[in-house]
């Protein structure tokens, strides 16, 4: 009887499955418009430009909003501004908005919308997490910190409907591309005030000025974008619709791709090899760099303050094996500190200033050499006396990564490193309180310039919780941040990088890459390491179905 009912249930399951399958194909044939479908890992927490912080909001924001400029594939293009100029001291920028710039409700986009948005970003009452992005602007930091309360003192001003003037504290080499950042997207005062806290909470609670509008936002499920008929450059936009599904599990997303439900997808680590062999895997840097960060002021653990010890650890790590074992070979060994993609003067910074501090493979001899030097300086005779704990995140992958380093240090240095896994927020809290020995940490660039990494380690820097302080380093960074001589600036940044690797509190491990695969008909999709990723604004799906 049981067997019978089981087989009945199976038959039922089969029939239902077939019915469902039919319904699906019927639906797909209806759409003749060009539609791009892909998945993101989590719901977009906020699409309010001045409050948004996460990568998905930046990605969607890039499509539904447009700043003064548009950055596509690393190049600055005209956006809402049709033209702009900068003063000789590189501190005053004037942007001229295009006449045909319109919001999705038909109203013109004005310089006042930008002024309002920039000041809203900096207003302490907005409580924007990314307010610091506006600290380049004259009095921006003071206004945000409540040191001045009059917003008219902030260095951004609409001279008329179509002219915006921005005054900076110091010359900023990457200022143009910064204007593409989500925090600097315009917003309309009337709409913000109408919806208050619920501004941008739903598709009908905001207006759009980008190539697409948000047609529907089914929270935690999908975002449906449609081409914006009011967009000035609408002829360059090929897609009629973009559907962004929320699928958290990478394996689920990948299976949906296999099933033909998505147009492109990230490849889960275990499938990389297979797809690589088939020539279907593509790779890109997502901008994140990971490193070991040492707490040099840790009581009772003087070796953490010893630069030779830190270098011993750095040379004992086999970066190539590490990447092969923990990420199926996807990612690049970090042989230096500056991410290989960041802009230099003309080319990439790393091309203009080539350098390799750590080798890709481990160098046990050099590691031992540094260790012996360190032990001599510390008056230690046996490496087993050296004890420290590495703090890392709470995933199974983080554990595996930590175990790899643990084993490399055991093999190459004879040091037994402990591993402590904690949830993300707890890790940040322990870092902020400098309550750690060594932490496995990462950083993603805010803008396309080596400074986004280098200024982390200055004395008193908001994120420098290593206790490391070096006058020479501080001087180099200070110079680079204030000069308008961009060649000298780059030279100093390179000096700072070398100094950091030699004496600094960090040991770079890897530059993260992502593996992804797409259907052949998908073209024009750009993967970025800074800003919107993916950038699908000019993508096309000609030949789909």
């Amino acid at each position: 009887m049981l067997r019978k009912s089981v087989s009945f249930a199976l038959v039922l399951l089969l029939v239902l499955g077939m019915v469902a399958g039919c319904g699906q194909t019927g639906q797909q044939q209806q759409t003749k418009e060009k539609e791009l479908v892909f998945a993101i890992g989590s719901e977009v927490p906020s699409l309010d430009p001045q409050k948004a912080t996460d990568t998905y909001a930046i990605m969607v924001g890039n499509a539904i909003f447009e700043g003064l400029v548009r950055v596509h594939d690393g190049k600055v293009e005209k956006g809402m501004a049709k033209d702009w100029k900068v003063s000789d001291d590189q501190k005053t920028w004037t942007f001229y908005l295009r006449e045909d710039a319109k919001w999705s409700d038909g109203k013109p986009v004005t310089a006042y919308d930008f002024e309002y948005a920039f000041k809203r970003l900096l207003d302490p009452k907005t409580a924007s997490e990314y307010a610091y992005q506006g600290y380049y602007i004259v009095n921006g930091e003071k206004f945000n910190k409540g040191e001045i309360t009059d917003p008219s003192q902030v260095g951004v001003k609409a001279l008329d409907d179509k002219t915006l003037e921005i005054k900076l504290e110091n010359p900023v080499k990457y200022f143009e591309s910064l204007m593409n950042f989500i925090s600097f997207m315009p917003v309309r005062k009337d709409i913000v005030e109408q919806y208050g806290q619920e501004f941008a909470a739903d598709a009908d609670k905001m207006v759009y000025n980008g190539p697409f509008i948000l047609k529907e936002w089914k929270h935690e499920q999908e975002l449906i974008l449609e081409k914006n008929p009011n967009y000035w450059n609408k002829d360059a936009i090929k897609l009629d619709r973009v559907r962004i599904l929320v699928v958290t599990e990478t394996n689920t997303a990948y299976q949906m791709y296999e099933n033909g439900e998505l147009d492109f997808v990230g490849i889960p680590p275990d499938f990389v090899e297979q797809l690589k062999a088939e020539g279907k895997a593509e790779f890109y840097y997502d901008g994140a760099e990971f490193y070991l960060q040492f707490n040099v002021k840790r009581p009772g653990k003087p070796w953490l303050a010893n630069e030779n010890f830190r270098k011993a650890v750095g040379f004992a790590i086999d970066r190539e094996d590490y990447i092969k074992a923990t990420m199926s070979g996807v990612s690049d060994p970090a042989t230096r500190y500056v991410l290989p993609l960041l802009a230099g003067l003309e080319k990439k910074f790393v091309e203009e200033y080539p350098y390799e501090f750590y080798p890709k493979k481990a160098d046990p001899e050099k590691a031992k050499e540094y260790l012996n030097k360190a032990m001599q300086e510390l008056g230690i005779s046996d490496p087993s006396q050296i004890k420290f704990e590495m703090l890392t995140d709470d995933s199974s992958r983080a554990k595996m990564m930590a175990e790899t380093i643990q084993d490399m240090l055991r093999k190459n240095l004879g040091i037994e490193m402990q591993i402590k896994q904690v949830p993300f927020k707890q890790r940040l809290e322990l870092m902020n309180k400098a309550d750690y020995d060594v932490v496995f940490a990462g950083w993603s660039p805010d803008y396309d310039d080596p400074m986004t990494y280098l200024d982390l380690w200055v004395t008193g820097g908001g994120h420098n919780n290593t206790g490391w302080s070096n006058k020479e380093y501080d001087e180099l960074i200070k110079f680079a941040k204030t000069t308008s001589d961009y060649k000298a600036r780059a030279d100093k940044m390179f000096e700072a990088e070398k100094l950091l690797l030699e004496k600094g509190p960090i040991v770079p491990v890897y530059f993260r890459q992502r593996a992804w695969t797409k259907r052949e008909y998908v073209t024009g999709l750009v993967r970025n390491f800074v800003g919107a990723d993916p950038d699908f604004v000019y993508a096309d799906v000609e030949g789909k179905n």
Binding site: A20, G23, N251, E261
Partner: protein
């Protein structure tokens, strides 16, 4: 009985209040704060603390939270900055409830049936088959069974959609994955309870009265043996209806489950509290109903007390 129910309602409210109070303070004890992030600076964090009123003394915050709660206002989420927790629950709960109800019904029917079959065929092959199903059910967690189902039924057989929640076909695999553990527990409990009951005096009495075996099984054995299953059904229903993290993740269902986890990970205080209140009320109600069902199943049980 009427007085008991009234009494119990009052106690339920007090229970909920104690729960909220405990969680309100516990969540503040967690290391870190809602706005700690990799990139934030202390000054900006202060702006955010002030914005949400976290700069005020804790007891003031508590009073404010409770008075809002009495109005049914769970506050704005700290992570989903422009959405209220009420709104999040309103949007996500229907999905979780839909899936949960399916899973509870499926699990109860299959679990109880398997248990009865096993008990009536004690130590025979049907008993062992039932046990085997139960053991597979409880030893294979949903993070394994979910991807396995997807692989077999979607990728290989092309019968069912991989994930999401857009129609009946989408519900089959998640329902199955979600109910598997409960099926196992219920089947095993039902079997054990049936065997406990079979030697009780009233069954012997029934036998001696000359009732047919079928009558004994239906009228006495099952009715008296179902109690443990009813007991576990209380919390199981509350849990499944208010969303389960793993299954909703694997099948990309926009339910409530993830908000517990994401809420705690991000120290989204209002989200965590809102979820706790919501789940807590469900649980209290479910256990309340279970106690009343006890009395219906077995009139001798007097929960109302002495």
């Amino acid at each position: 009985m009427g007085r008991y129910i009234l009494n119990r309602l009052v106690v339920s409210l007090i229970t909920a209040w104690v729960l909220v109070t405990i969680v309100f303070f516990l969540v503040r004890l967690l290391p870190g704060d809602p706005f700690t992030s990799e990139k934030i600076t202390p000054e900006i964090k202060q702006n955010m603390m002030r914005y949400y009123g976290f700069d005020k003394p804790l007891h003031i915050q508590y009073i404010r939270y409770i008075s809002n709660l009495l109005k049914g206002d769970l506050g704005y989420s700290l992570r989903y900055q422009n959405r209220t927790v009420n709104e999040v629950i309103r949007q996500a709960f229907p999905y979780s409830a839909d899936l949960g109800i399916r899973a509870v019904i499926f699990a109860s029917i299959v679990g109880i049936t398997l248990g009865i079959i096993a008990a009536l065929n004690r130590n025979k092959s049907l008993d062992y088959i039932s046990m085997f199903i139960a053991i597979v059910g409880i030893s294979v967690p949903s993070f394994v069974i979910g991807p396995l189902l997807q692989y077999v039924f979607s990728i290989k057989l092309k019968l069912l959609p991989v994930a999401q929640w857009k129609g009946f076909a989408y519900t089959i695999m998640p329902t199955f994955a979600l109910s598997l553990g409960s099926i196992a527990l219920m089947a095993r409990l039902m079997r054990a309870s049936m065997l406990d009951v079979v030697n009780q005096d009233y069954i012997k009495t029934a036998k001696s009265k000359g009732l047919s075996p079928t009558q004994i099984v239906w009228k006495h054995q099952i009715r008296n043996a179902i109690l443990p299953v009813v007991t576990v059904l209380g919390p199981v229903t509350a849990t499944l209806l208010t969303g389960t993290f793993v299954v909703e993740q694997i099948f990309a269902i926009p339910g409530l489950g993830k908000f517990y986890i994401i809420g705690i990970q991000n120290l989204d205080y209002s989200m965590v509290l809102g979820m706790t209140v919501f789940y807590g009320l469900f649980l209290i109600a479910a256990n309340f109903i279970v106690d009343i069902i006890y009395g219906i199943i077995d009139p001798r049980i007097r929960i109302a007390g002495k």
